[in-house]
């Protein structure tokens, strides 16, 4: 059967040609002409950010904020549009060998950094080299950069079109300059000067960032004069500011979305980007018990977590990679069977299922949402007889026991469009042993490894959350990608007559969740 499928797939490429008889029609855009000028006021939940891609931690919740802000000042070699097409950015064309191990990208000519200096292939190589995975090397040759992989890299374009793979130049003072539509003008109070050996623009405790239009941008000056970003805004305050006209674009916490909808606020939601899940600490002896893992997994009520606790602002997750990224997440089923879980629990020795002392669930991420999910996990477990207690988050210094926890609640934010890269990074961060399945860009191998992880219950997905944002009605040409890139370079502001945030009925912005 596999041969038939593969043959069909080979046929499908012929089909592609057949289908080409249908004329290509571009998506229709707003018919109103964009207007230059204005300052877009943005409020974000994260209390700090760094624009240096080298300092970003894969999978962290701040990755999205960092990436969105970095995208204002930096460009990548390629971008992926909402129709699945790779669009040239700093690279104008690319090619690869038959084995997809060697890729060559031609660097766009006449591109300048925001300080006026010219972009070269060497700058690209220097910027990307420290960011690449271990199996990938980059070198500049003339006006091109060449990527050499140790194994087949069919997903290189997805890799380079997402995540941290921005092109920048480190200045002698440690600051970074880019070729993007904006440049960082000012960092607000609380900024600490970067250390001499630190290449970051600004590391800690930034409260306000001001980005000014880059007149030298190769793609053209953006419509906005500036973007004013405030960090660390509490969720309720952000929504309020949007509603009273103090901001045009605010990041919304999931528990604010309902309130925003009820107030007829224009709300955008990405595809599910943040996965919350559970991880057993394999170093703890009792956590290796398979029945315990199965019992716990069967006790988890993901529907209630997503549908009630998160008020339908999240989806139950049965897979590690979301459906929109892997395409096969629907093959996994997060079964809830309390009766079966109880049967398994009864068959466990008392000291395993938290009999003598409860299993400890450590929340590895801060926030009310994580705490709520952890409490629900505890309630579900207790219902089946597994004794468990939640511990506070380790980071904020809340009470934690001297003994390590048997179970951890983690949050993982999707950062790459390469599902293989994403899965590998997630597994590594959650201390799952390396895949023996080889190249994870192959969906068969990737699926097999993901299934193995889930069947062995090394990781147990709970829910997946989108990113949310609220927009003022004055924000036009808002076309974010489903994977969370805001693409503010193409946004423009309609002259404000009255601070209105009420959206026209039935407006379905591009990039809405599938």
């Amino acid at each position: 059967m596999r041969f038939i499928v593969l043959r069909w797939l080979a046929v499908s490429e012929r089909l592609v040609a057949l289908l080409s008889i249908f004329p290509f029609a571009a998506a229709s855009f707003a018919s109103t002409k964009p207007r230059y000028g204005g300052v877009l006021r943005v409020e974000l939940l994260a209390s700090s950010t760094t624009l240096d891609p080298r300092a970003w931690k894969a999978g962290s919740r701040d990755f999205g904020t960092n990436e969105r802000l970095a995208a204002l000042v930096f460009d990548r070699l390629v971008a992926l549009d909402n129709y699945g097409r790779f669009v040239p950015q700093l690279a104008t064309e690319w090619s690869h060998d038959a084995s997809s191990r060697r890729w060559q990208f031609t660097i766009r000519a006449d591109v300048k950094f925001s300080d006026g200096s010219a972009l070269s292939a060497a700058d690209v190589a220097a910027a990307l080299a420290p960011l690449l995975p271990e199996d990938l090397k980059v070198a500049a040759t003339g006006n091109s950069v060449v990527f050499q992989a140790t194994e087949q890299r069919a997903d290189l374009l997805e890799l380079l079109a997402s995540g941290r793979f921005f092109v920048f130049r480190a200045q002698p003072d440690g600051s970074l300059v880019g070729t993007g539509a904006f440049k960082l003008e000012e960092a607000g109070k609380g900024t600490r000067p970067a250390a001499a050996d630190s290449p970051s623009v600004a590391q800690t405790s930034l409260q306000r960032l001001n980005f000014a239009a880059n007149e030298l941008c190769w793609a053209g000056r953006p419509f906005l004069d500036a973007i004013d970003v405030t960090l660390g805004v509490p969720p309720l305050r952000a929504l309020f500011d949007l509603q009273v006209g103090k901001a045009e674009l605010v990041e919304l916490a999931p528990d604010m979305v309902r309130r925003a909808n009820q107030a007829n606020t224009r709300v955008w939601a990405s595809s599910p980007l943040t996965l919350y899940g559970l991880r057993f600490d394999d170093a703890q002896p009792q956590t290796t018990n398979e029945k315990l893992r199965e019992a716990l997994s069967l006790s988890l009520d993901r529907m209630t977590m997503a549908g009630v606790l998160l008020q339908k602002q999240a989806e139950p997750a049965a897979a590690l990679l979301p459906q929109w990224l892997s395409g096969y997440a629907f093959l996994f089923h997060g079964e809830t069977n309390v009766e079966r879980a109880k049967e398994l629990r009864v068959s466990l020795p008392a000291n395993v299922a938290g009999g003598a002392s409860p299993l400890r669930l450590q929340t590895d991420v801060s926030g009310d949402l994580a705490r709520l999910l952890a409490e629900r996990v505890v309630v579900n477990a207790r219902q089946t007889g597994i004794s468990m207690q939640p511990l506070g988050k380790a980071h904020d210094g809340n009470a934690r026991t001297a003994d390590p926890a048997e179970l951890h609640l983690f949050a993982w934010r999707i950062f790459s469009l390469s599902p293989g890269e994403e899965l590998r990074s997630l597994a590594k961060a959650q201390r799952v042993e390396e895949a023996k399945e080889g190249n994870l860009s192959d969906p068969d191998r990737r699926y097999a490894w993901e299934r193995k992880i889930l069947e062995e219950r090394k990781l147990m997905p709970l829910v997946a959350l989108p990113d949310y944002a609220g927009l003022a009605t004055t924000v036009r040409d808002w076309q974010p990608s489903p994977w969370g890139e805001w693409q503010l370079a193409d946004v423009w502001l309609e002259p404000a007559q009255a601070p209105k945030t009420t959206a026209p009925p039935n407006s379905a912005p591009n990039g809405a969740r599938p």
Binding site: V308, K312, R371, L373, A374, V378, V379, Q383
Partner: protein, 622 residues
């Protein structure tokens, strides 16, 4: 023990007993008011607590009524009555309700008993709260204590439930306020009292669950036994807790269990009342009692001395007077004035002595007359015996004149012999009387009594085992180391002779003669006992009367002489007898004679110069 000493002790004991009784009474009866006050204050505090509890419950009920009557709740209830309702819409509504209405705990439960929203444990949404749906009308149920499950433990709340009915389907709102220190802080506590709240949220006692609004509780684990008892039996209890070794630090706790809807013990109110005041008061009273006691002792001593002097001195005088009268000074007069009983007694005493003195002469005269009469009678009796044979003999002589010379001569010889014998007898009688009449005054010298007795015994030794007579045994129990006494050895000898002779006469059938000497209280006691037929009490009383005798042949003077001698020695003689068992004569002689100063017998030499002194001493013994 003298009367004064007795009086002193009586007075002292009376004072001490009175003081003790008063102290005890004060302590005891002052405790009662304290306890009464304590009880009243506790009751008032408990009533206050209950009132506050009820008010809080009403407040909770009122706020829940406000929630029920709000438009939001109405819309929610109508929507949730729809089987396809999206319950997730209301997931956070409990938070808003709680904030708006000032409640600590709010939960929303739909008509199926499923938790829709929860302030305190949002993660439990979706689980059943069947207990809520089992009551048909929650308005009739008073606010109740409830154990609230929280993610990180549990808490105690005062809760109520209200419902919003839609088409026979109820929406339930459960609301409550936390029972914590703020609740206790609203109570007004009298001085020395405090209120604690124990929240029974753990399976075992936990000191951390004791709520103290003032943060003054130390060593809370001391309350563990009391609290465990309350948890077990859910009845009010009273127990005193000693916080330290000092009794003043003790605290009495009145514990009232606080029950939940199902009568489970969810908490306990502990009303503590310090025992310091009472303990200090008791100590004060004790100190006071001790001081009063010591003072009483001191005062008693003085008072006793003074009073006893006032009381005992007249009595002593009376006693001295009685002693003087006993010793023969019948003209003794007590100089005591007073109208009280003692004065009356003194007056009576003086009257008595006057009467005695006046009667003494009459008595002496009477006795003299009686003695003369007795003497005359005895004389007549004594003389009659020998006179009768004299008379017969003379008559025989007269008759014999008519006989022949030889016959007359024989009769004459017999008669003269008889006349001589009887005349000798008469002479003896006269001599005895003469002896008795001219008993010499004692001539005191140091005498060893034991030797005197032995000397007297020696005289009668032949008679103890005389042939043809029943033997008489002798037993001597002579005290060793008896001091020499002032005595006339001759007179003593005579006295002892008479007694021994008397004893022998009392044992015609033999027996045992016992002689015993002993010394006590500066007197020497001599006992002469026989095992004869004994004497009757009447005989004993007349024994020492001159001429009284129980013997057929006897002058009756022997014991009288003995008595006279004993009297001259300022001693006493008594007799005790038991019929058929024997008789014992007991003589007590003083060791020293008044006004006589003698050297020990070994060194004593009689001299002429001493006679006048003795004579004087003898003259004084009248």
């Amino acid at each position: 023990m003298s009367f004064r000493t007795k009086l002193f002790w009586v007075f002292l004991v009376t004072m001490l007993v009175s003081v003790s009784i008063v102290s005890y009474a004060v302590t005891h009866y002052s405790r009662a008011p304290f306890e009464e006050i304590d009880r009243e204050r506790t009751e008032a505090l408990v009533a206050q607590f209950q009132k506050e509890y009820a008010q809080r419950g009403e407040e909770v009920g009122r706020q829940l009524d406000n929630i029920i009557n709000s438009e939001l709740t109405a819309r929610m209830a109508i929507d949730l009555a729809n089987p396809n309702a999206d319950q997730s819409l209301y997931f956070r509504d409990a938070v808003g309700m709680a904030q708006e209405h000032g409640l600590d705990f709010v939960e929303i439960v739909n008509f199926q008993g499923t938790l829709i929203s929860s302030v305190q444990y949002p993660a439990r949404v979706g689980y059943k709260e069947d207990w809520v749906t089992q009551v048909s009308d929650w308005h009739e149920v008073a606010p109740f204590l409830r154990k609230e499950e929280l993610p990180d433990g549990s808490d105690l709340s005062l809760s109520a439930v209200r419902t919003y009915p839609v088409e026979k389907k109820n929406l339930y709102i459960i609301g409550g306020k936390r029972m914590d220190r703020h609740f206790l802080a609203s109570l007004v506590l009298p001085a020395g009292m405090r209120a604690l709240l124990y929240r029974n949220l753990d399976p075992t006692f936990s000191a951390a669950e004791i709520v103290d609004s003032n943060d003054t509780l130390q060593n809370p684990e001391r309350l563990e036994p009391l609290i465990n008892q309350i948890r077990k039996q859910s009845q009010p209890l009273v127990e005193t807790v000693n916080w330290t070794g000092n009794a003043a630090d003790a605290e009495t706790f009145h514990s009232i269990p606080l029950l939940g809807r199902n009568n489970e013990v969810l908490g306990a109110l502990l009303v503590g009342s310090s025992q310091r005041e009472l303990v200090l008061l008791k100590r004060k009273i004790s100190w006071l009692a001790a001081i009063v006691g010591v003072s009483a002792l001191f005062v008693g001593l003085i008072l006793t001395w003074w009073i006893s002097r006032r009381i005992t001195r007249p009595i002593e005088e009376l006693a001295d007077g009685a002693r003087d009268v006993a010793s023969g000074r019948w003209d003794r007069h007590i100089d005591l004035r007073g109208r009280d009983e003692v004065g009356q007694l003194a007056g009576a005493f003086n009257e008595m002595t006057q009467t005695l003195a006046s009667q003494k002469e009459r008595l002496v005269q009477a006795e003299r007359v009686a003695a003369w009469r007795e003497l005359a009678r005895r004389l007549a009796h004594e003389l009659r015996n020998p006179l009768f044979p004299l008379q017969i003999t003379v008559e025989n002589l007269q008759r014999a004149r008519q006989l022949s010379q030889d016959q007359f001569q024989e009769v004459f010889n017999e008669s003269t012999a008889t006349l001589k014998a009887e005349l000798s007898n008469l002479n003896a009688i006269v001599n005895r009387f003469s002896d008795f009449s001219k008993m010499p005054t004692p001539r005191f010298t140091k005498v060893r009594i034991n030797e005197a007795l032995r000397d007297a015994m020696r005289l009668f030794e032949p008679q103890f085992n005389a042939v043809g007579k029943p033997p008489v045994g002798t037993e001597l129990f002579l005290g060793e180391g008896l001091p020499e006494i002032d005595a006339d050895p001759d007179l003593l000898h005579k006295a002892f002779q008479n007694l021994i002779l008397n004893a022998l006469d009392a044992m015609p059938a033999g027996g045992t003669l016992k002689l015993r000497t002993s010394g006590q209280d500066e007197k020497i006691r001599i006992e002469v006992s026989d095992t004869g037929k004994g004497l009757t009490p009447e005989e004993c009383s007349r024994l020492f009367t001159p001429y009284y005798t129980t013997k057929q042949l006897g002058t009756g003077l022997g014991l009288a002489i003995v008595q006279s001698i004993v009297s001259d020695h300022h001693g006493t003689i008594s007799v005790s007898s038991e019929e058929s068992r024997g008789t014992t004569f007991r003589i007590d002689l003083p060791q020293r004679q008044p006004g006589v100063l003698l050297k020990p017998a070994v060194e004593e030499k009689k001299s002429e110069g001493e006679e006048p002194a003795r004579a004087t001493a003898a003259a004084n013994q009248g």
